[in-house]
């Protein structure tokens, strides 16, 4: 991106073109920085819970009086047809208000949503302020450890059990499955070696990630099953993906729109819940376990279940089979190109399905997704939802498809839920942190104070030491800070943390370095008897290499820090790296044009002598 071009003759055309390009970049970055003057405000969005009647929503007036009585003063309450939007005097108390409303009106859904306060034309450009990290915003952080080893072990045990049932089903006499230290093996006696291959093939079609090694041990043929490195890594990836998606959908229930759920390293998941003050509810929901069941529909009697798409349905309370019998669920397309979900069941599930479908061809079957979690009192609560209803078209066995899916996305979602019900890796919390909102806002004001002081000292020093050139450096410095803030607001995934603010302050201190190197060089050139304009040209030219060298090492360390760091440290690395880019840009290019203009144009006009 950066290149140092030597232009020997300052041709006016070239000069003007680069001038315009630079101006455009600066203006664009300055506009991107603008929304930071209008910090976001957290509003409460209150709506009726999905399965309840509309009447359960209190009127705006009752709600406002209720909140005011709780000591949570309301600044603004808006009635928006199906939702009520509320802004508190102290938005940091939104989480407290959310809990209070939920306790008072259990049939409502309360979400905390960030509202931009910047002018609409800025929002129309899609510009928003820099995202703040947890240490500035307040909130809860969880790092979860996903026990992948245990998930693999369980999968191997399940494969072993299925191998046994396949052997029985195929009537493969003389073939025997046996558990070993790293998996299991199937042995075939000399007279049964031909029966081994179909068993292996069947097993591999169910567990694609398993690797097989066959060997002849004397007269006995042995097939060893285990996870190859490749199979293991794709299995790990699958498990992590499932766990992440399950967690994301659970966190959505908490009503936090700005939550961050991401993979951290090989087997960790990082969850950031800004605004949340009490980690217990979040902990409860994160630690929930999921299960899946297939049920028969009942017209008379039966148990009432909620449908995911809204409404209710009556089902036989005893499931046909449950999710632990699902081996795999993948998406595919039928002969007409419509999306479908392919399921493969284990022996027991297959038998149950076979018996049920034979007697119920043409009748519907419902898929129910349930989650067990602890409530506030520590009791285990089950929450069930019907995610799909499908007609049985024919006599089915252990492999069948759910067809007639609405879209590819719907099919993918269902496949994921089906897999999530079949395979869950145990999850433990290894890092938990709560940062109070007062600490967060204190961190912001402290950080800003440090920024102001550091900036003030630097500006004052440069103006006093270098006089006129110092003013150029100061203009460059202010443009640098604006560009940096603009760049940080513009780039997705950049989060400002407290160490990030320190990085910002540091960038200010270091940014003058570029100008100091150049100015010292110019002074030297002047001492050697060059004319002012030439001295400036030479100074910038000679200093360019040095500046490049000096900044690249810091860039290397910043990139390494970005690569390995998490959370606050990553925030520091980002500001450091972006700060280097903007300071080279403003310090070398912008200030060069500024000083050329100042000395060339003004020098010519007034004929003033330049003391650099």
């Amino acid at each position: 991106m950066l290149s140092f071009k030597k232009d020997k003759k300052p041709s006016t055309a070239k000069f003007k073109l680069s001038y315009i390009a630079m101006l455009i970049v600066l203006v664009l970055l300055a506009i991107s920085a603008l929304p930071n003057l209008y910090p976001n405000k957290s509003w409460l969005h209150i709506s009726a819970a999905p399965h309840s009647e509309m009447q359960s929503l209190p009127s705006t007036k009752t709600l406002v009086t209720f909140l005011n009585n709780q000591g949570l003063e309301v600044k603004q309450g808006l009635d928006k047809q199906s939702t009520i939007n509320v802004l508190l005097n102290e938005p940091t108390k939104s989480a407290q208000a959310q809990a209070a409303i939920k306790a008072q009106y259990p049939n409502t859904q309360v979400k905390i949503v960030e509202h931009a306060t910047s002018p609409t034309w800025l929002q129309d450009f899609g510009l928003s302020p820099i995202k703040l990290g947890l240490d500035l915003n307040g909130g809860v952080l969880f790092v979860l450890d996903v026990d992948l080893d245990k998930a693999v072990d369980e999968q191997l045990v399940s494969a072993y059990l299925q191998a046994k049932s396949i052997i029985i089903k195929q009537k493969a006499h003389g073939v025997k499955a046996q558990q070993t230290q790293h998996g299991f093996e199937i042995n075939a006696l000399p007279n049964a070696t031909d029966k081994l291959t179909p068993v292996i093939e069947e097993l591999q079609s169910r567990f694609a990630n398993l690797a097989v090694v066959t060997s002849n041990n004397g007269s006995v043929k042995t097939a060893k099953f285990s996870y190859s490195e490749q199979g293991r890594s794709s299995f790990d990836k699958e498990v992590m993906g499932q766990t992440l998606t399950t967690l994301r959908s659970r966190i959505e229930e908490l009503g936090i729109t700005e939550a961050v759920t991401q993979r951290q390293g090989k087997h960790r998941i990082r969850i950031e819940l800004p605004g949340v003050q009490d980690p217990t509810e979040a902990k409860r929901i994160i630690g929930a376990t999921a299960s899946l069941g297939f049920y028969q529909l009942k017209e008379i009697g039966g148990q009432t279940f909620n449908m995911q798409s809204g409404g209710t349905i009556k089902l036989d309370p005893v499931p046909i089979f449950t999710g632990d019998h699902i081996n795999n669920a993948t998406i595919g397309r039928d002969d007409w190109g419509k999306p479908l979900v392919q399921l493969s069941l284990d022996g027991q599930g297959g038998n149950a399905m076979s018996a049920f479908s034979k007697a119920n061809i043409g009748k519907p079957m419902a898929t129910v997704y349930s989650e067990y979690s602890q409530n506030a009192k520590g009791e285990v609560v089950k929450k069930s939802e019907v995610i799909n209803v499908a007609n049985i078209a024919q006599h089915l066995s252990s492999r069948f498809s759910i067809t007639n899916m609405k879209s590819q996305q719907a099919a993918a979602d269902l496949a994921l839920l089906l897999r999530a019900g079949s395979l869950t890796a145990p999850v433990t919390i290894v890092h938990e942190q709560t940062i109070g909102p007062s600490l967060g806002s204190e961190n912001i004001s402290n950080g800003l104070a440090a920024l102001m002081l550091g900036m003030g000292i630097t500006l004052a020093f440069m103006a006093l030491w270098y006089r006129r050139l110092g003013l150029i450096a100061n203009v460059a410095l202010i443009l640098n800070l604006t560009s940096l803030v603009g760049l940080m607001s513009l780039l997705p995934g950049v989060v400002l943390t407290l160490p990030g603010i320190a990085g910002l302050v540091l960038t200010i201190g270091m940014a003058v370095d570029t100008n100091v190197i150049i100015f010292e060089r110019i002074k030297e050139e002047r001492r050697q008897g060059r004319a002012p304009y030439q001295a400036i040209q030479e100074g910038y030219k000679q200093a360019a290499n040095t500046i490049f060298d000096a900044n690249i090492t810091t860039m290397i360390t910043a990139l390494i820090l970005y690569g390995i760091g998490y959370g606050p440290v990553k925030g520091f690395a980002i500001t450091l790296a972006l700060g280097l880019l903007t300071s080279v840009f403003t310090g070398v290019y912008v200030s060069k044009i500024l000083s050329q203009t100042l000395y060339l144009k003004m020098g010519k006009k007034a004929g003033v002598k330049v003391h650099a």
């Binding site: 790092v143 919390i429 290894v430 890092h431 938990e432 942190q433 709560t434 940062i435 109070g436 600490l439 204190e442 961190n443 402290n446 950080g447 104070a449 440090a450 002081l453 550091g454 900036m455 000292i457 630097t458 020093f461 030491w465 407290l498 160490p499 603010i501 320190a502 302050v505 540091l506 200010i508 201190g509 270091m510 003058v512 370095d513 100091v516 190197i517 010292e520 030297e524 290499n545 040095t546 060298d549 000096a550 900044n551 690249i552 090492t553 810091t554 860039m555 290397i556 360390t557 910043a558 390494i560 820090l561 690569g563 390995i564 760091g565 606050p568 440290v569 520091f572 690395a573 450091l576």
Partner: protein
């Protein structure tokens, strides 16, 4: 060697003294590091950390004995201010019994009336991993930077810069060990920033040394004089940049509050010793290793030489 330096110019003598001082400081740092070790923070050890404020100022000792009554495990209480405290517990402390007891005791006591600002739990396994990752990052950064320097500079100048860099890191670690300041993740981040900044100074001096060595008319000058000249011509820049950076770091130290204290202290020391070492080590060591203008002459093989000599 001693004579060589003592006979030289004032600048050379000063550089030599500085190097001796640096060597002594490094020895001292290594000594404290081996004797006292580092005071690792929660990030690396794992455990529970609770930060809280009290409604009025409380004596640390009083609070200590009050909590001890309501806490059946080991804990460490530190004061961040008159009414601002931190309590640290080992990762083995059980979540339910120990930590909740004392917390409700301090929040419900009318004299103390504590308010919990933040709480953190880090599993000991995570702490170990972070430590390993931190060490890995340091080595990766050093190696990447060394490769860059080796390509960019002559080996003597590159080695000088790297030795200066290691010196800076050891001195900062030594200070943290001597004063037993908490060593946490942000301090580690600042060490990586120091790697970048320490080299910055060394590179700028090195760049100038290289430039002066390449100038033909300087062939008559000794390398000591050339290095002195290079330092002289970059000294203003080094002092101004270090000065403004120190001023900004100091403002972080003063105003940004407790979470960034260690970070600011590490950077402040790092910049001071980095500036010092860029002159006394990074520029002096290459001289001891025999750096001369010859290293920068364009190499001409015999064949081209005869071609050039032809009339």
């Amino acid at each position: 060697m001693l004579n060589y330096f003592l006979k030289g110019e004032v600048g050379t003598r000063l550089r030599f003294m500085g190097m001796l001082l640096s060597a002594m400081l490094v020895l001292l740092s290594v000594f404290t590091l081996t004797q006292k070790g580092l005071n690792f923070g929660l990030d690396f050890t794992g455990g529970y950390l609770t930060e809280f404020t009290t409604s009025q100022s409380v004596e640390l000792k009083e609070l200590q004995s009050f909590i001890a009554k309501n806490h059946n495990g080991e804990f460490e209480l530190t004061a961040q201010g008159n009414s601002h405290f931190q309590l640290r517990e080992a990762p083995s402390a059980s979540t339910t019994a120990n930590s909740l007891d004392w917390q409700s005791a301090v929040t419900q006591n009318d004299d103390i009336n504590a308010q919990v600002l933040s709480s953190a739990y880090i599993g000991s396994q995570v702490g170990d991993e972070l430590f390993d990752q931190g060490c890995l990052a340091m080595f990766a950064a050093m190696i990447a930077v060394m490769i860059y320097l080796a390509v960019r500079f002559e080996w003597r100048l590159a080695l000088g810069s790297v030795v200066a860099l290691v010196h800076d890191l050891i001195l900062v670690l030594g200070l943290f060990s001597l004063l037993q300041i908490e060593f946490n993740l942000t301090v580690l981040a600042s060490l990586l920033a120091i790697i970048g900044y320490s080299l910055n100074d060394s590179i700028i001096v090195g760049d100038r040394v290289r430039e002066l060595l390449r100038v033909k008319s300087n062939n008559v000058l000794s390398s000591a004089t050339i290095i002195n000249n290079a330092i002289k011509s970059t000294l203003t820049r080094t002092l101004i940049t270090s000065g403004t950076t120190l001023a900004t770091v100091a403002s972080v130290w003063l105003l940004a509050g407790a979470p960034l204290q260690g970070f600011a202290i590490a950077l402040f020391t790092g910049i001071v010793v980095g500036t010092f070492s860029s002159i006394c080590i990074a520029a002096t060591l290459p001289e001891l290793l025999g750096l001369s203008a010859k290293n920068y002459e364009v190499k001409v093989d015999a064949h081209t030489q005869t071609l050039l000599d032809m009339p």
